[in-house]
Structures are given as structure tokens and as C-alpha cells.
């Protein structure tokens, strides 16, 4: 083996080690156990809406999405509903869609609830908690702000008030 060839081998091996090693460190340190994080792509879903139709993430493509995970039994979720509804009304003509995903409850319970609180943004049902799993939700409510390009701009844990929601959506639309 020639000397230059040897040298090339060395460089290639060292480079490989740097790449593989760097990748290992970066994924471990920023690692979230497979859960989506801010900046990563929003996982897709295919869920039945209260309207009886199937909805997917893709159909909202090109729109900024406020993805709210909630349950009727969860007090802060109930409390933030009016704020979500208000922002939905304010922003829906500007390319923003608010989507509520209910965490595993009966269709009936959700229907009654939605009628009671007068919410008319799309509400989807997740009886098997598929999207709950793929979004790695632990406490409710959790709200994902997904940009037009399908990236997660912000993840908010806990109850949202009108002002924060407004600010977040504004940021989302700008981004």
C-alpha cells in the first residue's frame, strides 16, 4: 500500500469516527426517546372527526395548525376551550386552523361536551390513543403549534390563556 493511500485511509477512518460519534452524541443528548420535540416534524395522524369523516394531518397542509390534545374530564382543558374557540374565529380566515384531539373518550361524551361549550373548530377522536402515543403526550392539555411547513414551532404544556395563545399564533403565522 502506498503512503498516500495509507494516509487517505487514515483520514477516511477518522472522518467516519467523527461522523458516527458526533451523530451518537447529538442524538443521545437531544434525544427525547422518540417523542417529537420543538423543531421536529409533526407526526401524521388519521382520525375520525365528530363530523363523521376521517381527517389527516396532510389535509391541513399549507395552514398553520394549533393542535390541542384534551379530555372532557380535564379541568384546564375545559377552561381553555373558550380561548381556543375565540382564536379560531379570529384567525381561521388567515390560514390558521385549530384542531382538537380528544384523548380516548366516547364519541357521545365528546359530542355532548362540544355542543355544551359551543365549540365549532374541528374535533377529532382518538379512541386508541394512537396520536397521543406518537406525539408523546403525558399531561393534558398539551398544545402543539405546527407551522405551515409541518414543523413543530412550539409545544405548550398546560392551560393556555387568550393572550399567550394569540401571541403564539402570531409567531406561528409569521414563521
Amino acid at each position: 500500500m502506498g503512503n498516500s493511500k495509507k494516509k487517505l485511509m487514515q483520514i477516511v477512518i477518522l472522518l467516519l469516527i467523527v461522523i458516527v460519534g458526533g451523530y451518537a452524541i447529538v442524538t443521545q443528548v437531544s434525544g427525547s426517546g422518540g417523542k417529537p420535540t420543538e423543531g421536529s416534524k409533526a407526526p401524521g395522524f388519521q382520525l375520525l372527526g365528530l363530523d363523521g369523516k376521517t381527517h389527516t394531518l396532510d389535509e391541513y397542509k399549507g395552514k398553520a395548525i394549533v393542535l390541542n390534545f384534551w379530555g372532557t374530564w380535564c379541568e384546564p382543558c375545559v377552561k381553555e376551550m373558550p380561548a381556543l374557540q375565540a382564536q379560531w374565529e379570529k384567525w381561521k380566515d388567515q390560514g390558521v386552523v385549530v384542531v382538537g384531539i380528544n384523548a380516548g373518550e366516547d364519541k357521545m361524551a365528546v359530542e355532548n361536551f362540544v355542543n355544551n361549550v359551543n365549540v365549532d373548530f374541528p374535533v377529532l377522536l382518538d379512541p386508541d390513543k394512537d396520536s397521543i402515543a406518537s406525539y408523546g403526550i403525558s399531561p393534558l392539555p398539551t398544545t402543539f403549534f405546527v407551522s405551515k411547513s409541518g414543523r413543530i414551532n412550539k409545544i405548550h404544556l398546560g392551560q393556555l390563556d387568550l393572550a399567550t395563545l394569540d401571541k403564539q399564533i402570531e409567531e406561528l403565522v409569521k414563521s
Binding site: 495509507k6 494516509k7 487514515q10 483520514i11 477512518i13 477518522l14 469516527i17 458516527v20 460519534g21 451523530y23 451518537a24 452524541i25 442524538t27 443521545q28 443528548v29 434525544g31 422518540g34 388519521q46 382520525l47 375520525l48 363523521g52 369523516k53 376521517t54 379530555g71 372532557t72 374530564w73 384523548a103 380516548g104 373518550e105 366516547d106 364519541k107 357521545m108 361524551a109 355532548n112 377522536l125 379512541p127 386508541d128 390513543k129 394512537d130 397521543i132 402515543a133 406518537s134
Partner: protein, 563 residues
């Protein structure tokens, strides 16, 4: 040492062989190249047979320096020691991932006080995921690759082109040396000496008055095989971090229910869960008095289904096909094409699945009709005899909020309640509201009768009542399974198996070589092994005995370091 070798420019040996820079012993005849070495009487350093390692070269540049850093065993040992110390730190307090649900920022301070807080602040609560620990592992990996490459090729070259006749100094400065007079023809003696050596498993090469006997050379590759195995193992561990190769979730499966496993096309049904406990007689006395119960068996009779059609469309029922059945026990997971289900936990609280209440005339007690009510996803409308019932509201875990309005407190059906609007003969046209608690205990706790009286302004003419246990359907228990997919496991095992092969090769066999030459009736014998000098001395003593030379094992020892 390195500097010394480089300073010594002339790498041409007196036997005429041109050696690469960094060579300690001539590749051909084995004579030490260093002048200082030549005048010494010390035992020779036989590592890598005195060959130049790749990392040894004149005028190292940056790349060479990095290469040399990782090629150094000293550095490797430092990294091993650092990893060892780092691992120790991680065992002082439990790691975060030992708990399923804690907030580490408060947990460590509350449980372990100030030391816990410091431990958390230092990031030691996730030692094994921290950047420095992974960096150490990566560096060990780099060291494994580079150390091996640096040594294995020169060693291979050295061992594949061995000269039979070695320099006198090479022989007398081995760790096992014998010198003595022999009788008779030298060449004949060498031929005869080959016989007992062959019997001992040596491959013997002769060259006139010189002889080289060698066995178990493969043992020299043992360390490199170990390193290859470890590299595969480490790469497999790294690959586990790639998306899509790993899945790990804990799912509750109530008895008798087919449940979807999120993010897969599989469904699993818990046909029956059993838990057995050891009987009193099985327990040692000490336990009996303490009233401890010890579980004997957890078993989930499970059926795994694969979805064949309509899987992703929530408006349709998926078409399922049973693909595997297994009794899942603690040491016996279900395994289907890499999808594994492990017994993890269980809950023996019965969960109400459905009831079949009867509509009864409150006064006469006459049964007017019966219907089936599912607790989960109930229908909206029912008929019982001449009456129609419309389900208006459903509460999984009935309670009242601060305004006294009925709400459901949790998503779990702990205290299910149903609000019906009943219409039919002898009822007002707008119907009769009736709240129904299927569980007897809730009926009393929430005063079902009082609520109904209040809603109807008096005792309602009809009531719902369950007649007999045959009208109640319970799921008796819930099993919690840990569903896992880990596609890199085969590589982990392959890596581990290679490591084991290398260990066995390297530690249970030793590469032994015997050189001998006869000059003017004087036999000079030198021998080398990479391990177990005791063994080779005994072997040579036995061989010499066959040649009628009585040599004490211990007297063969020429001193020097025992590797």
C-alpha cells in the same frame, strides 16, 4: 522510545533486510536494530514481534497525531478507567429512568436532600445518557478501531513471513532459553527433534541446522476478534438511537378486549389473565408468620391480530387476522416477527363492561322490557317493551363540579352514570328524565333515587334495575404489557458472540514458537509464547527429554517480564 527509534536513521539490518521506521527487531532475522539494544543483555521486547506499528513514523502531522493518540494503549486504558469511574458515579443514586413518573427537579432534593440536589444539578441523574459518557464510549470505539488497524496488519505481516534461521541474539534474549552441547550430526538432530514437537501439535519448519516450531497462531488474533465484536456491539447500540428501529410502550389490556397497539398494524387481545400465589405450605416459616404473599405465576393468554384491510380508516372496522397466540409470562414474552409483548404489571380490579338493565314499573315491580347497555361507546337509543330510551349524557366517573353540575372526573369508568330520556305510555310527552348508576355502590353514594325524584318532581313511575348477575358483564382483570420492537438486537448478539469467540481464542490457547539452531555442536533454543510461560517451559522440557536432554523446567527461565 519512539524518538530513539526515529533518531536511529539506518533501518537496514546487517542481514541485508530493509526495515520500516519504528522497527525494533529486524523483520527478517530478529536482530535488535537499536545500537543500545544490541549491547544489552536484557530479554527482548517481543510485542508485535518487534514490528513497526502503523502509528510509528517520522515527522507526524496532525492526522498522524490524532491517529497516534487513539492507537495508544495507554490512552485506551485511561479511557477504560474514566468510563469505569463515570459508571460508578451513576450508581450513587437511582437514575431517572428507574422511575416511570417523577419530576426529577424536585424528586432528588426531596428524597436525598442536598446531595440529591447536587447530584441532579451535575446531571448525574442521567449519567449514561450524558454527552461525556457517550463521548467516552465513542472514543473507546475509535480506540478499538484504530488500535486494531495499527497492530493487526504489521503483526499479520510479521507472522506470515517468518524466517527460520534467527540471529543468535534473538534466540539468547528470549524469555525461554536453553543452550547446551549435543552429540552427532546437527541436521539429523534437528530432524529428530521435529518428531516430538509434531506430536505436541507444532507445525515444524526446518532449514538445515535451524528449526522453527509454531502452534496455535490463531490465538494471536483473539484480541482483534474481541475488538471487532466490541465494535459491532457498540455500533448496534448506537443504531438503537435511529428512528424507527425501536419501540417501547406500556399498554393496559382489559380481559376480553381487542386493543390496537399504537403505531403498528397489530391488535392484541387479552383472552385471560391469571395470577397464582404460592400456598402456605410452599412458603418458608419465616414468611408464613409475616403473612406475606408471594406470586408464583403471572400469565396472560394473548392473541395477536394483524390488520389486513381498512386499518387506517377510522370510519370502518378494521379486518383482523389472528397471527399468534401465546401464554405471556414473566420470562416468556410473545414474539412475533420482532414484535415482543412482555408481562409487566396487572390489576385485579374488575371493570364493568356492560349491563342489561330492565325497565320496571316502580309501583308493581313488573318488568316492562330489557336492553343491553355498553359502558364504553354506548348506543344513543334503546327500546324496552313499549318504551323508548334516549341516552342524553354519559359520565365515566361521575362527580359534581364546583357549580354543582355533573361532570366526569377521570376518563376511567370508575363510577359510570347514564342520563336517559324515557318516552312511552303513561309518561309526559316531553318524556321522563332518569339517571342510572349501574354499580350498586354508586347508586347509594350519589343517591340515585333522590336525584331522580328531584328531576321528576316526585317518585318516578319507572325505574331501571338489573335482575341477577347474568345481566352484568365484567372484565375481571387488566394486564399491562410492555410492547417492544428492537430491530438491532440480532447485531447486539452477533457482536457479543464474536467477543466471546475472540476471548476463547485469545485466552484458552497460546501462540507458542520455538526457534533452535545448532552451531558447531552447540544447541541454542529460544522460545516465545504470548501467555502461560509455565506451560511452554514444561512443554520444552518434555521435548528435550525425548531428545535425551534432562533440563529442569525452571532453569529454562531467562528472567524478564511475564506477559
Amino acid at each position: 522510545m519512539l524518538q530513539k527509534v526515529i533518531a536511529f536513521k539506518n533501518t537496514k539490518c546487517e542481514c541485508g533486510h530493509q526495515n520500516p521506521v519504528g522497527t525494533v527487531l529486524c523483520e527478517s532475522c530478529g536482530k535488535p536494530l537499536d545500537e543500545e539494544e544490541q549491547n544489552s543483555k536484557e530479554v527482548l521486547e517481543m510485542r508485535y514481534d518487534g514490528m513497526a506499528r502503523r502509528s510509528q513514523r517520522a515527522n507526524p502531522n496532525i492526522i498522524d497525531r490524532i491517529w497516534n493518540f487513539f492507537a495508544s494503549v495507554k490512552i485506551a486504558v485511561y479511557m477504560i478507567i474514566l468510563t469505569l469511574l463515570g459508571s460508578m458515579l451513576g450508581t450513587i443514586f437511582p437514575q431517572e429512568n428507574t422511575f416511570l413518573n417523577i419530576d426529577p427537579s424536585t424528586y432528588y432534593k426531596e428524597t436525598y436532600g442536598t446531595w440529591g440536589l447536587i447530584y441532579y444539578k451535575l446531571g448525574l441523574t442521567h449519567t449514561y445518557e450524558s454527552w461525556w459518557f457517550i463521548l467516552l464510549l465513542v472514543m473507546i470505539g475509535a480506540s478499538l478501531v484504530i488500535c486494531s488497524l495499527d497492530r493487526v496488519l504489521p503483526l499479520y505481516r510479521a507472522l506470515s513471513k517468518q524466517q527460520i534461521l534467527k540471529h543468535m541474539q534473538f534466540l539468547t534474549r528470549q524469555r525461554v532459553v536453553y543452550q547446551g552441547k549435543i552429540e552427532g550430526d546437527a541436521e539429523e538432530w534437528v530432524k529428530q527433534a521435529a518428531v516430538p514437537m509434531k506430536k505436541k501439535g507444532y507445525r515444524v519448519h526446518t532449514d538445515g541446522n535451524a528449526l522453527l516450531a509454531e502452534k496455535y497462531r490463531f490465538s494471536r488474533w483473539g484480541p482483534y476478534v474481541i475488538h471487532i465484536g466490541l465494535i459491532i456491539f457498540l455500533l448496534a447500540v448506537l443504531a438503537r438511537g435511529l428512528p424507527g428501529l425501536k419501540m417501547d410502550q406500556h399498554i393496559a389490556f382489559p380481559e376480553g378486549e381487542i386493543k390496537h397497539i399504537p403505531n403498528t398494524s397489530y391488535y392484541l387481545k387479552n383472552e385471560k389473565f391469571t395470577v397464582e400465589f404460592y400456598s402456605e405450605e410452599d412458603m418458608p416459616e419465616e414468611f408464613r408468620n409475616q403473612g406475606k404473599v408471594l406470586p408464583k405465576l403471572f400469565n396472560t393468554k394473548a392473541t395477536l391480530y394483524h390488520c389486513t384491510a381498512d386499518c387506517d380508516d377510522p370510519t370502518k372496522e378494521p379486518k383482523l387476522e389472528a397471527v399468534a397466540r401465546h401464554d405471556i409470562q414473566v420470562n416468556d414474552p410473545l414474539d412475533y416477527k420482532g414484535l415482543k409483548a412482555y408481562q409487566f404489571d396487572y390489576d385485579l380490579t374488575p371493570v364493568l363492561r356492560s349491563v342489561s338493565p330492565s325497565l320496571v314499573d316502580a309501583k308493581t315491580g313488573k318488568e316492562l322490557g330489557k336492553f343491553k347497555l355498553d359502558i364504553k361507546n354506548p348506543q344513543r337509543n334503546y327500546t324496552a317493551g313499549d318504551y323508548s330510551l334516549e341516552l342524553k349524557e354519559k359520565y365515566n366517573d361521575f362527580g359534581l363540579d364546583e357549580n354543582g353540575r355533573p361532570v366526569t372526573k377521570t376518563p376511567n369508568p370508575n363510577a359510570p352514570a347514564f342520563l336517559f330520556l324515557i318516552k312511552g305510555p303513561n309518561l309526559p310527552a316531553s318524556g321522563m328524565q332518569y339517571i342510572y348508576f349501574p354499580k350498586q355502590i354508586d347508586k347509594e353514594r350519589f343517591q340515585q333515587d333522590a336525584i331522580n325524584e328531584k328531576m321528576n318532581g316526585g317518585t318516578p313511575p319507572l325505574m331501571l334495575d338489573v335482575k341477577g348477575m347474568e345481566n352484568v358483564d365484567f372484565s375481571m382483570s387488566t394486564t399491562y404489557l410492555n410492547i417492544r420492537v428492537d430491530k438491532v438486537m440480532p447485531f447486539i448478539w452477533v457482536g457479543a458472540a464474536i467477543v466471546m469467540i475472540g476471548l476463547v481464542l485469545g485466552f484458552y490457547w497460546q501462540h507458542r514458537r520455538i526457534w533452535l539452531r545448532i552451531d558447531d555442536g552447540v544447541l541454542t533454543l529460544g522460545a516465545h509464547t504470548n501467555k502461560n510461560w509455565f506451560g511452554i517451559r514444561r512443554e520444552i522440557s518434555a521435548i528435550l527429554k525425548k531428545m535425551n536432554l534432562d533440563v529442569d523446567e525452571k532453569s529454562l527461565d531467562n528472567g524478564g517480564k511475564h506477559a
